[in-house]
């Protein structure tokens, strides 16, 4: 497989502008003749579908929820970055670019990241014009806050519901096009396969989740914006339905999967309360501005927090990282908490938690002062745990939050399958090995509003492929494959529920391929996962039939894909013999316990290629060349 990143020539700052000029256009009258499929209606998918429909293409959009408005982007709380420099605090496109590259631990592609920083400013204008109610100052201008990994205030927000408001903006733009008949929307419809004709992506196979009907849809190009795969860990901050199915099945049709092992763990989530736990809830990182993180010094200390005296507490972040203290970056804070728990010093059910204590803040600011800043978070904490965070310290634990890896794409956001474009969290671009807060929303919208409309035109204008038809043999074959898979799932009729497999897989992944990884654990996981997969296909029990609304069957299909995908993730984690960003190999750390990159040997994107069900995947490398920035070591001491 040849990885051609198609990075345009010229100086970094001019690449995108020049390239836009070089790209081929489709004239307005011809746009009407092109059909485009967009899978996913999150920030990336909805913005892409709406924009392409505005331009005149015929768009079909798909999502598994009952409405495009419910895509998981809705859950993002904190905000969206943009290099507007409205605060006059020294921000610039270049600084946002640099922060993102550095935050990604020098494992992202320069040209893509620069373009992201450039278009970030247009995103804000676009969203304001759509009626997104961003927070404002009294003077009527837009307000900003600061966010992790940056020294400037460039984050735009709408209360704690930024993702919701941006998504609703995109959803409304999409709705306008649905109303105008330019987009045909298929909610409650799940993509189960990608169809290639003549090597180009020309359609998809979907299942209507209400009737069970499996149908094929043909188009001139396919855009996947299906979000992240965090649910391979079973417990994550992702929505229950988030899955890898769409991208995984594209992988099996020839799209390379890049850097699957880069997963982000968020330090301030509400801990697991028991075996029934179905998902984890994130609490804004801002809590660490005033809360102090600690664990008891003694192992197995089961006393109530109030009974543990000051000298018996270990404020481990303050101890280990005196200058950043409780504000150490996500990955570092997460790992430190895990270490404390692994040493047997964790608190709460199962010893999986550390305290986030506001006692000092309350002394300093009074309870009301704290309430003013974080009242809604304390309320949420109380709703979920039944505990009052003002009276007893909160308990927190890290949880899987975001996946930097995804389908490999070139500068055009096209995967290694011509005509198959990948946007948003589903692709691997832009964030390298670690994503900074408030930049996923930015990336999704950049991809959808401002990149794909240009680059897809170039493909359509130059690819010269015949118009596909949904009854072509390629589609028939794919339909048959999907039907056979469903039938197989339903016919096993074993003893274990789908969920029990998902949980077990998640457990293996979290233990062996989670916050800290090592060779031994990964190898163990690589033995356990295939065994679990084998058991799944022998012993899973899927109830009901295909021809009905069958949530158990949906789940089974997703878990089947996770069981394959998990293996690739572990392989990727095993092969990357360095630590970087969200990938921490315990063998590769500095004496102080910090991540140790190996730029000499691993400064590349690992793009895995499917070689057949019974063959190991092929590793392709896209070298990362840094022309602008100088690679340095992250330090937060």
């Amino acid at each position: 497989m040849k990885l051609d990143s198609k990075i345009p020539e010229g100086p970094l700052a001019q690449k995108w502008d020049r390239h836009r000029f070089d790209l081929k256009l489709v004239n307005p009258a011809n746009k009407r003749k092109f059909d485009i499929i967009v899978v996913g209606t999150g920030l990336a998918g909805a913005s892409a579908a709406a924009t392409m429909a505005e331009l005149g293409y015929n768009v079909k959009a798909f999502c598994y929820q009952d409405s495009p408005r419910r895509a998981h982007s809705i859950a993002a709380q904190g905000g969206i970055n943009a290099a507007k420099n409205y605060q006059n605090d020294g921000d610039s496109v270049y600084r946002l670019f640099y922060d993102t590259i550095k935050g990604g631990d020098f494992r992202a592609r320069e040209a893509n990241v620069y373009r992201l920083a450039q278009v970030s400013v247009n995103i804000i204008d676009q969203c304001v014009a759509q009626g997104v109610p961003f927070a404002r100052e009294y003077g009527g201008l837009l307000a900003n806050r600061s966010f992790g990994g940056a020294q400037v205030s460039r984050t735009f927000y709408a209360r704690g519901q930024t993702g919701q408001q941006l998504l609703l903006g995109a959803y409304q733009a999409l709705s306008r096009q649905i109303g105008a008949g330019k987009v045909k929307m298929f909610p409650r419809t799940e993509m189960l396969d990608l169809v290639l004709v003549n090597g180009h992506a020309k359609g998809i196979i979907v299942r209507d989740m209400v009737t069970g009907q499996v149908t094929s849809h043909a188009a001139d190009a396919v855009v996947l914006a299906t979000g992240g795969y965090g649910n391979v860990f079973y417990l994550s901050t992702n929505a229950k339905g988030c899955n890898v199915t769409a991208t995984w099945r594209a992988y099996k049709k020839g799209a390379a999967f890049a850097n699957p092992c880069y997963t982000q763990i968020h330090p301030t989530c509400i801990p697991v309360s028991g075996d029934h736990q179905s998902k984890l809830t994130l609490m804004s990182e801002s809590l660490r501005n005033d809360g102090r993180v600690w664990a008891p010094k003694a192992k197995g200390d089961k006393r109530a927090p109030g009974e543990i005296s000051e000298s018996e507490r270990d404020y481990f972040l303050e101890r280990k990282y005196p200058s950043f203290g409780n504000l150490a970056p996500r990955d570092i804070a997460s790992r430190a908490a895990k270490e404390a728990c692994d040493e047997g010093r964790g608190v709460g059910p199962g010893g999986k938690g550390v305290y986030l204590d506001f006692a000092d803040a309350i002394k300093r600011l009074t309870e009301n002062g704290v309430r003013e800043r974080y009242g809604n978070l304390f309320d949420m904490y109380e709703k979920i745990t039944g505990e009052n965070g003002y009276k007893t310290p909160m308990r927190i634990y890290p949880a899987v939050h975001y996946t930097m890896g995804g389908l490999w794409v070139d500068y055009h956001l096209m995967s290694t399958i011509p005509g198959c474009f990948v946007l948003g969290e589903a692709n691997f671009s832009d964030h390298g090995a670690n994503r900074l807060g408030a930049s996923a929303l930015m990336q999704g919208l950049a991809d959808g509003y401002f990149v794909i409309p240009y680059t897809i035109a170039n493909y359509l204008a130059t690819s010269k492929q015949a118009k596909p038809k949904a009854d072509q043999p390629e589609f028939q074959r794919a339909l048959g494959d999907v039907a056979a898979l469903t039938k197989r799932l339903l016919s096993i009729n074993g003893k274990r529920t789908v969920n029990s497999f998902h949980k077990e897989l998640g457990h293996i992944m979290w233990e062996k391929c989670g916050m800290a990884r090592d060779e031994k654990g990964l190898q163990e996981a690589l033995r356990q996962i295939p065994a679990l997969r084998e058991e799944f296909w022998k012993n899973v029990k899927v109830v009901g039939e295909n021809g009905e609304l069958n949530q158990n069957l949906e789940h089974a299909g997703r878990v089947a894909d996770f069981l394959e995908f998990a293996e690739l993730t572990c392989q990727d984690a095993l092969h990357r013999r360095e630590s970087c960003g969200g990938h921490f190999r315990t063998e590769f750390q500095t004496e102080e316990g910090e991540a140790k990159r190996d730029d000499e040997n691993f400064s590349y994107v690992a793009a895995w290629e499917f070689a057949g069900s019974d063959k190991p995947p092929i590793l392709n490398k896209e070298p990362l060349v840094y022309e602008e920035v100088h690679m340095s070591t992250r330090s937060y001491k």
């Binding site: 709406a50 924009t51 505005e54 929820q65 009952d66 409405s67 495009p68 408005r69 419910r70 998981h72 809705i74 507007k84 247009n122 804000i124 204008d125 676009q126 304001v128 014009a129 759509q130 009626g131 109610p133 927070a135 404002r136 100052e137 009294y138 009527g140 201008l141 837009l142 209360r159 519901q161 919701q164 306008r176 096009q177 649905i178 109303g179 105008a180 330019k182 909610p187 209400v210 229950k240 339905g241 028991g274 029934h276 179905s278 998902k279 809830t281 994130l282 709703k383 979920i384 039944g386 529920t497 789908v498 029990s500 109830v543 009901g544 009905e548 609304l549 069958n550 949530q551 158990n552």
Partner: protein
């Protein structure tokens, strides 16, 4: 604790449904309501029975997917809380809990507790947007917006489209939902140019979907997980009143582009 559930089971849109009784033993107070149902479902599936179908996705109170009536109250009666965020510590050992789907002509039941709320989408498609294309928009700070207006628009925009307002309303009226969107956009300068057309077409779509009218009973506001205020219904009434006085031609629903 041990609970008894009476759950609405219905095979599909066209079948008749009934309340079925299930035991939910060993429920932990730390479970969310949906996790309790997950556990009941695991039990059913192990026995080879079909699980209770219910909608959920984010499970953190923001996507608006989860939806069920618990003992006659939409989302179960904790103020400002969706059912995915409702926890079992609010119930006591021995309780019997009746669980039903949203019921409204405009929200047909698809299966068990799952309903079709696409009527809401069609109302937004009829006019719940600002008609601008991507690109060519003025700078975000070009038009200042008073903070009070921005805050009020945000209050309205917080709606998650869950449909609890419809479910709780004695008339199955969608006024709270529709008013939230109309008010958000009518309050911001960006939405003002289209306010007449928007109010007319969204209301007309709301009517044709078969929702009832508002008789100001206020249940919607009481169950709304985002505590959307009845003031917005008043604002919609005002908007619509102005719109019918100003409106020269009847706008048709869906006249989007």
């Amino acid at each position: 604790m041990n609970l008894t559930l009476k759950v609405w089971r219905q095979k599909d849109k066209d079948s008749d449904g009934h309340l079925a009784t299930y035991a939910a033993p060993d429920v932990s107070p730390d479970m969310s309501f949906l996790e309790m149902l997950d556990v009941v479902n695991e039990g059913l599936m192990t026995k080879g029975e079909e699980p209770i179908a219910f909608d959920s996705d984010c499970r953190e109170g923001i996507c608006g997917t989860c939806s069920m009536m618990i003992n006659g109250v939409a989302h179960g009666g904790q103020k400002g809380t969706t059912v995915c965020q409702l926890h079992m510590r609010r119930f006591k050992d021995g309780d019997t809990i009746v669980i039903e789907p949203w019921r409204a002509r405009a929200f047909p039941v698809l299966r068990d507790l799952v309903t079709d709320r696409s009527a809401f989408d069609r109302i937004i498609q009829a006019g719940g947007f600002v008609s601008i294309n991507t690109g060519g928009t003025p700078d975000g700070n070009a038009i200042p917006v008073a903070k009070t207006d921005a805050d009020k628009a945000m209050d309205a925009a917080a709606c998650i489209g869950c449909g609890a307002c419809v479910a709780a309303c004695k008339n199955a009226s969608a006024m709270l939902f529709v008013s939230a969107k109309v008010s958000q956009l009518a309050t911001l300068p960006q939405g003002k140019p289209e306010r007449v057309r928007r109010a007319l077409s969204m209301v007309s779509q709301m009517d044709s979907e078969g929702f009832g009218a508002c008789t100001v009973t206020g249940s919607c506001e009481a169950v709304c997980p985002k505590e959307i205020s009845l003031d917005f219904i008043a604002q919609l009434n005002r908007e619509y009143g102005k719109a019918i006085l100003k409106n020269p031609v009847q706008s048709k629903a869906g006249e989007g582009a």
